[in-house]
Symmetry: C2
DNA sequence: TTGTATGCGTTATCAC
DNA sequence: GTGATAACGCATACAA
């Protein structure tokens, strides 16, 4: 492996100058910079990130912690984040919390051990507050939260416009003529889900409809839970459901089909997140699209910006868009 | 940050001993090991991976390079690999090649810069040989290939039983009574795809059917290409198609539907990879399931095993299983 | 603008 | 079984 000393020797200068030239310090003559760069190229030099990290106390790495990497939403966030980090010479270490707090803590410890410069995190559903996050991240590591955030933790937050999204999704169902609309609401310990429930309620009340606690289904974010909620909703006389996730919406769709209800004629469904399967199933599933790739980019940008101590990034809100498909569109062409 | 020197001081011993105790060296008295471990725990010690990497010349990190992280297949491979690496104290850096060689090289350079101990790679479709891989990985870095491999590159390879899988998928279509079966074959520069084509041909000839080059469609692995191939296949009189991917199979399904063909009655389809959407679309898509999580585990295990210089891992073949669904099952219950 | 000197935290080698 | 010492490659404070 060729080092800066090798380059220095070959050029008859010292390693310090080479280091400065390579890291873009202004205190280097233009001509020597050129010479160094050419020599580095020619000799196939590549910075030893371990040495650099040790010396600087920080690695050019950011950790990204997500509940699961195989959810399209999260893998796209990661893709977006990497596309930005790449441009700034940062790599990403990806960690999964599997939705539980202990894995989240483990990931944070790993990242701290690696002296990462930043952590982008969307918290596990099991984590009801951010205490363990603050405890396992050290001062000087930039923390950016996205999607599932704790407002009690200071710093940049990239979130979907959850309130507005749920509001629009619910209003869409009302406009399609559905009369009794339930909601698969998820976990209220997550602010994202709480905001969606609030948007749903607001839409109902704005449109003069009654809010019925009996048809608000808490506590699930997976298909099976959606299936169960869907069945109860049908029992309670619902003719539509707004779901805060697409997997749960899929479960509800399954329930409606099994009960012999036609979707969308007898039963309307709108999900959230616009997973890839949503466009492909029959009937296709209407969904409130988030913009995961864009959210990832924003999160990474927030990190980059925060590298300058004076710059402060607050909350970035990314809109959600209604993708109306068959499952909620009664008047088809 | 607490260091091994801090621990040493608090115990009245030297950093060397602490280091040995913590890294499980046998040359440490049991009682001092205990004492060190307790002190480390109490003082909240976490090893500085940067320093450790620099000293050892290797980071406790493996790089995983995949074409795209948001393909379910690859994200599951990553999940499987991490589940194993975790147990051995290794982290993973995930890189995407976006199917092109230049990004693949960039990723390899990044990983070399980080002195990773190993690289798990499934090559980009654009890469027609492995020369650039060998050039951009240094001696001593363990290279494990999975799924899309080059047999010209020595070392562990975790592959699906592509020949057998395609053979079974094709035979299944024949047994269902389809008479003219085309194949969406992918890129022959990839050995995985070449093996699938070979399996398809073998099945046809074993069952006494003719191999017709006109209905072998090369060169696409995305939905649009599958759609185009599907249309031509129908024009050429095919009544079924075996596809080496699910996205392409989805495109073929779309073509068949648009042409007014009933699937599976008039036209049969079997895909490959069993993506999540395959079970959810209508008609549900038959597919040759790979086992990505298991492949990821095997790849990581191959890496761990290869850490011992004497141990050699060769080729690990993971079976593919036919998941027969509606798109190819004429005799439904 | 460049050089000199130092140390980041760890681990390996050697000596005892 | 433990200690002393050095070195990994780089980046910076300071001197020139």
């Amino acid at each position: 492996m060729v080092t800066i000393s090798d380059i220095a020797k070959s050029l008859g200068i010292t390693p310090s100058t080479v280091s400065r030239a390579l890291s873009g310090s202004p205190r280097v003559k233009e001509s020597t910079r050129k010479a160094v760069e050419k020599a580095a190229e020619r000799m196939g030099y590549e910075r030893d990130e371990a040495a650099s990290s040790l010396r600087r106390g920080r690695a050019k790495v950011v950790g990204i912690i997500v509940p699961r990497i195989n959810r399209e939403f999260f893998s796209n966030v990661i893709g977006g984040a990497e596309s930005v980090l790449d441009n700034y010479g940062y790599s990403a270490i990806i960690c999964q919390s599997h939705e539980n707090t202990s894995d989240e803590i483990k990931a944070l410890k790993t990242l701290r051990s690696n002296r990462v410069a930043g952590v982008l995190i969307s918290h596990a559903i099991e984590s009801t507050n951010g205490a363990h996050i603050l405890e396992n991240i050290d001062q000087g590591t930039i923390l950016v939260q996205f999607d599932r955030v704790f407002s009690s933790i200071p710093g940049p937050k990239i979130i979907s416009d959850n309130f507005r999204g749920a509001y629009e999704g619910t209003r869409h169902l009302i406009e399609q003529g559905y009369k009794k609309i339930g909601i698969i609401a998820g976990y209220m310990s997550s602010e994202a889900y709480a905001a969606r429930l609030a948007g749903y309620k607001q839409a109902l009340s704005d449109m003069g409809m009654e809010i019925d606690d009996e048809i608000i289904f808490y506590g699930s974010i997976v298909q099976k839970g959606g299936y169960e909620a869907g069945n109860i909703a049908i029992d309670k006389g619902c003719d539509a459901i707004f779901s805060t996730g697409d997997y749960t919406a899929l479960g509800a769709l399954q329930a409606a089909k099994e009960r012999g209800l036609r979707v969308p004629e007898d039963f309307g469904i709108v999900g959230t997140a616009d997973e890839r399967f949503s466009a492909l199933i029959t009937p296709s599933l209407s969904s409130m699209a988030q913009h995961p790739y864009e959210m990832g980019r924003r999160a990474a940008q927030a990190f980059i910006t925060s590298l300058k101590p004076e710059a402060k990034v607050g909350e970035v809100v990314v809109p959600m868009d209604l993708i109306a498909r068959q499952s909620s569109t009664r008047t088809t062409i």
